[in-house]
């Protein structure tokens, strides 16, 4: 009886995107390459959107790469791997915020307006502080402020302002109406204005 034919060779280096002749459509040969090439970006991205929580960022990056292995069959070769990985990561970040919402984290919102709907405590900002928003020091302050927002407001701000999604994209990702998104963004911006004023921009 003749031997069964050898199984098709799997490209050990993972250089051929589809793994020459391999029947599996998953991306397991690329996982370590993705981590090596895009790990820093994915991690930085997650840390900044999750209010500086490095542990949570580690979790979502790992979940992203594991999900990417399974989802590789659906990856459109025309688009950049990095863009594709970031889109998976964004979903994982939103899942994380959703879980925080379910637990009822950060429900207590600080007062942003008085009983007449008027703004509180608006002072002049220091131009010098404004010139240092690209510093590592500012990044840490910003992270702490984002972390203080209710999760629903933080995630809206993260996907619209930090990621640059359109209203339609953000609404479908977060499962909210445009009106609801508008309310969340408003609360997030007013709260961040107040927090950043106290912790960074106020003339000292």
């Amino acid at each position: 009886m003749p031997d069964p034919p050898d199984p098709p060779e799997v490209d050990p280096q993972g250089l051929d995107p589809r793994g020459a002749g391999s029947s599996d459509a998953d991306g397991r040969h690329f996982a370590s390459e993705w981590l090596a090439e895009h790990g820093d970006l994915l991690f930085s991205y997650a840390v900044s959107r999750l209010g500086g929580d490095a542990e949570a960022a580690e979790d979502v990056v790992q979940e992203t790469l594991v999900a990417a292995i399974r989802a590789y069959g659906g990856f459109n070769q025309q688009s950049k791997v990095e863009t594709w990985l970031v889109s998976i990561l964004r979903r994982k970040i939103v899942d994380r915020y959703r879980a925080a919402r379910r637990r009822g984290d950060g429900e207590a919102e600080t007062a942003l307006f008085d009983e007449h709907g008027s703004l509180l405590d608006v002072v002049d900002w220091s131009e010098a502080a404004g010139g240092r928003i690209e510093s590592a020091e500012f990044a840490a302050v910003f992270d702490a402020c984002l972390a203080e927002l209710p999760p629903a407001h933080a995630e809206a701000f993260a996907v619209v302002v930090m990621d640059g999604l359109t209203t339609e994209e953000a609404c479908s990702l977060l499962g909210v109406t445009p009106t609801n998104l508008s309310v969340r963004l408003h609360r997030a911006r007013v709260a961040l204005r107040k927090l950043l004023q106290t912790r960074w921009f106020e003339e000292k």
Partner: protein, 97 residues
């Protein structure tokens, strides 16, 4: 919008609504009535004049923060690599069956 509501909006806008419209204006064009309501409100409200500028700064600062790249710490990379190794082995086993 009815004429009455438009007039009311023009004359009675509060900071809360004014800042909401400022926030909205970053993702859509405001209607003429909305735009004028904000302008009229800002004439009498120095807080909102400042806050308008400061909210723009908040977005700008957030975007500066968003593109900041930092290296993934080695121990994080190591832990993720180990977990990925497990996931790859599982995928191999599934493929072998």
């Amino acid at each position: 919008m009815s004429l009455w509501r438009a007039v009311k909006m023009l004359l009675t806008l509060r900071c809360e609504e004014s800042t909401r419209l400022l926030s909205d204006s970053r993702s859509r064009d405001l209607t003429p009535v909305e735009r004028w309501s904000v302008r009229l409100h800002q004439i009498g409200c120095s807080y909102c004049r400042k806050a308008a500028e400061q909210m723009r700064m908040v977005d700008q600062a957030a975007r500066a923060r968003a593109v900041r790249l930092r290296q993934m710490p080695d121990e994080v990379r190591g832990r993720i690599a180990a977990k990925l190794g497990d996931a790859v082995r599982e995928a191999d086993e599934r493929a072998d069956r």
